[in-house]
């Protein structure tokens, strides 16, 4: 627990302490050297600042400024990593493995980029929707909580300390429970409560797993654990297996791996519109990153994956997610819930790539983190715009909405095509990597299942497209018109990103391949 306390001390002291530690005293403060801590501390301090405000607009402006600074930091981190290799940042000047280490390699730099870019693009969308969803006295708090969630997600991603992950996981999760509970719909409370129960179980399982690791390796630093776990496993495998089981199940709850997804549909459907867009595109992605880290960089680096009885489980659950969740999406009338089930199915693709555990497959998972974030954000933002104008997301009431909200529906169609995996959209690129990965693995049937499952999405996307364009304009749809500029901006950028990532993957694809090479390259034979 001492390390956990250390975290809070370090966080409370913030950048000042980081900069003023022993090592730094000798040399001048150079901003770029402190990027790893800045990317966490900036949103944290901004959260504290906005929490003291009473004016929602000012809070929004601060959040916007912070959200736009963070991608710049993330890009700078990627460039630094590309140039110099892994960045190790000793928090408070305490050297790892005793002190907390922020460790940035290409893998988490990529995830930092996804999270921060989604936040940056989604922020303009917040202005109007938050005014509608949240009462004025609470608006500034809502932004404070959003910034805390952002802090938590970025912290989980950047830290190199297994226990520190737990701390940030709690920061982000608690913030998310609150964000969801602030939804206008009274069912938001139940949804948040459901998520709270499940999320807490997940976090508890995770920390139990970390406890086992600490017992067998005596370390909480992940790079250190990776070095020590091999001998520990050779000595006695049960505690390592127990750690693996607890950690994987715990994280699977967080990333909504089927059948641990039950919290997700309601949480997405009843949260405030901005929270839905932001969470759908980021929360599960960071959980996937943690899984990647533990699976490949820690357990896989020391122990041959064939000795770990997890590949088959991931494979079966992934395929079940791809099919069952997609079928459930077909029977949803509420489009937000439909998209939420679609998310569960898409997470199935991501975990499938992890199960493939070869370069193409993992590259598919990694690139899908980004691609799915873009397309699902576009879809949820479009539906949020419909909700904003019309007040309902029930398909049965939205006849002819394509006529009254043409741009919004065009964005939805493009996002939907990407879910289906039509070439020229981001979804196809992911599917290409996964398909090739499955073929390389010799699992031709799996390659077939990947494309077969995407056919189901034609049905649920197509169902809404037919309703929107072929039915006469309904009473509700008559109220519709494309949303205000600030919302449209986010929708258009997410949609454009969906197409851009499908056509020009010069950096996203190559980055994903590099990430996959790092992850798979470290595997024990």
């Amino acid at each position: 627990m001492s390390v956990g306390l250390l975290t809070s001390v370090a966080l409370a002291a913030g950048a000042a302490q980081a900069a003023g530690g022993h090592a730094v005293a000798a040399k001048p403060f150079i901003l770029t050297e402190h990027l790893p801590i800045l990317i966490v501390v900036i949103p944290l301090l901004a959260a504290a600042l906005t929490a003291m405000l009473r004016n929602g607009r000012v809070a929004w402006a601060i959040s916007l400024a912070v959200s736009w600074i963070l991608p710049i930091l993330a890009v700078m981190l990627i460039l630094q990593v590309e140039e110099k290799g892994i960045i190790s940042y000793a928090l408070g000047g305490w050297a790892p493995p005793v002190g907390i280490e922020y460790r940035v390699d290409i893998v988490n730099a990529f995830v930092l980029l996804i999270v921060s870019v989604v936040g940056a693009i989604a922020m303009p969308y917040a202005l109007r929707t938050v005014e509608l969803d949240i009462d004025e006295p609470q608006r500034a708090w809502f932004y404070a909580i959003y910034l805390l969630a952002l802090t938590g997600l970025l912290g989980m991603t950047i830290t190199g300390d297994a226990f520190n992950i737990f701390v940030f996981m709690e920061v982000s999760s608690l913030a998310m429970y609150v964000m969801i509970a602030m939804g206008r719909d009274r069912r938001a409370l139940i949804a948040a409560y459901q998520y709270l129960i499940m999320g807490t179980i997940g976090a508890t399982f995770y920390v139990i797993g970390v406890g086992f690791l600490y017992v067998v390796t005596g370390s909480l630093n992940m790079a250190d654990i990776a070095l020590r776990i091999g001998p520990a496993f050779a000595e006695s495998s049960p505690p390592v297996m127990a750690a693996l089981a607890f950690i994987v199940v715990g994280i699977s709850l967080k990333l909504a791996l089927f059948p641990l997804h039950v919290w997700l549909p309601n949480a997405y459907a009843f949260a405030p519109k901005f929270a839905t867009v932001f969470l759908a595109a980021t929360a599960t992605k960071v959980a996937v990153y943690i899984l990647l880290r533990f699976y490949f960089s820690i357990f896989g680096s020391a122990i041959s994956l064939t000795d770990l009885p997890i590949t088959e489980m991931l494979l079966i659950l992934s395929i079940a997610a791809m099919f069952i969740a997609s079928v459930m999406a077909i029977y949803e009338d509420n489009i937000e819930r439909m998209l939420a089930f679609s998310s569960v199915a898409q997470i199935g693709y991501i975990t499938l790539g992890i199960a493939l555990a070869n370069k193409s497959g993992v590259a598919g998972s990694v690139v899908h983190l980004m691609n799915h974030a873009a397309m699902k954000a576009a879809l949820f933002a479009a539906i949020g715009a419909i909700l904003y104008r019309v007040g309902t997301a029930r398909m049965s009431e939205l006849g002819g909405i394509g006529r009254t909200m043409p741009l919004t529906m065009a964005a939805f169609v493009i996002g939907g095509l990407s879910i289906i995996g039509v070439p020229g959209t981001a979804g196809f690129i992911s599917k290409w990597y996964l398909g090739v990965g499955a073929i390389e693995h010799g699992w031709w049937v799996v390659a077939f299942l990947i494309v077969a499952s995407s056919l189901i999405s034609i049905i649920y996307i197509g169902r809404f497209v037919e309703v929107a364009y072929f039915q006469p304009v309904s009473e509700a749809s008559e109220k519709g018109s494309d949303p205000p500029f600030s919302m449209m901006l986010s929708i258009v950028v997410f949609t454009a990103l969906t197409i851009y990532l499908g056509l020009d993957t010069a950096w996203s694809g190559q980055l994903a391949e590099k990430v996959a090479a790092v992850l798979v390259g470290g595997l024990a034979q």
Binding site: V422, W432, I439, A447, F448, L455, L503
Partner: protein, 520 residues
Amino acid sequence: MSMFSPETLLVLSLAIPFAAALLIPVFHASPNMREAVTLTSAVLLLITVINLVPVVLAGGSPEALTFKIVDGVSLGLKLEPLGMLFMLVAATLWIINSIYSIGYMRGHDEPRQTSFYVCFAIAISSTMGLAMSKNLFTLFLFYEILTLSTYPLVTHKGNNEARNGGRVYLLILLSTSMLFLLPAIFITYGVTGTTEFTAGGILAGSNVTNGVIALLLALFAFGIGKAGLMPFHFWLPSAMVAPTPVSALLHAVAVVKAGVFTILKVVIYIFGIDTLRMSGQADWLIYFASFSLLAASVVALSQDNLKARLAYSTVSQLAYIVLGAALATTAAVQGGSMHIVMHAVGKITLFMCAGAIYVAHHKTEISDLDGIGRKMPFTMFAFFIASLSIIGLPPFGGVWSKWFLAVGALDAGHQFAVAVFMISSLLNVAYLMPIVMRAFFRPPKGAKPGEPIAIAEAPLFCVIPICMTAFGCLVLFFAADSIMDFIKLIDLKGPAASAAISQSADTIAQLTSGGVSNGR
């Protein structure tokens, strides 16, 4: 000589119709300007495409727009003779069809004409892209855009019938392509490490087993749903709810020909015809295509709706080309390539006639067409000529492609395929000629004997294009030789194979086909 480099011309072929799609909505308020955009870009496109012909004749294969997407996946254009031929057909017929569209859409006072022309232009643009694809991935991209851009055209009417037709259309085309074609591309890439179209075939050099070849062929044959091979043909009759100009250009030319073009392209440049024929794995496809060919003709016999009958006729005619590809001899593949041209011109005429009848008299059923030839003599005479070409009678273009296909079947030692072609021709007579007979020899319903029947043709914008393409059927009979010369530019053997295999039976095949065209 052209003022542009071949590379620029390739890009222009893609960009001109796409620019039209962007420009058409600007003139939403003034229909005349809007149609001027369509016609101008159609003419510009044809000029561009024609300017590429000398390049191909000189043996050039210009490339453009190549950029890597991910490992093994790059986007790129590369021109080769088969694609050139397809582009010529599509670009020429786009002009004619655009004139016809103006007559039809205005004569019929259709709603949402702007979006109609926009989608049409996108469909043409993707057809051009498909014809110029450098590799399977690019082809797949344009293949899917073609499906998606034609979906709004199929559902143009916006009623329940259109919605249901659109559902079948989209589901069949998307699901076959995703379920079979995409895995076929995965496997091709997995086995050979490339998806580039290469003369002689990329599977030729690699040591793939016959099992893989058989699997790939099945995945390609059924995955390319646009080729209409049974049992995945029924999207085509469903697509007939579209306005007739769509059925005419897209569902008799661009979309379905994109399907068979893809099949030919895969057989020539992915499998390599020698590899395919010698593997013996294509035999089942010969029987499958034969069945599709005859069965669709028989179904066509039973259809009373004129467009439905023509649709089934198309399914049958597409099977000719698939059969040619499956036979995988030089003459058969060349005959199949030629059939793309011959059938396109014939079938677009028939569809435009059906549309003209609908515009002028609102008749859709064949049983209602008594005496229509006396009211619409030009239209029905054109129908007669195009029918003869489809049946394969001289002096119309259709005879030549069937001839080469039959020669190809003999080369391959599949005499029964020749019988299939002949039976099919008889069936063509049986389902097309009664329409003509009924139109000219039966008096119109309700007409009093002896009373003169007034001529009531469709708008001039409809009739002129019909006469042009009917005349085209005649011209093609005499142009067959130069078309064949052009088709012979397709490198069926690849650089390495020409020496090794030329001793085999193929020389005989080539001699036979060469002798035929010389002796004509």
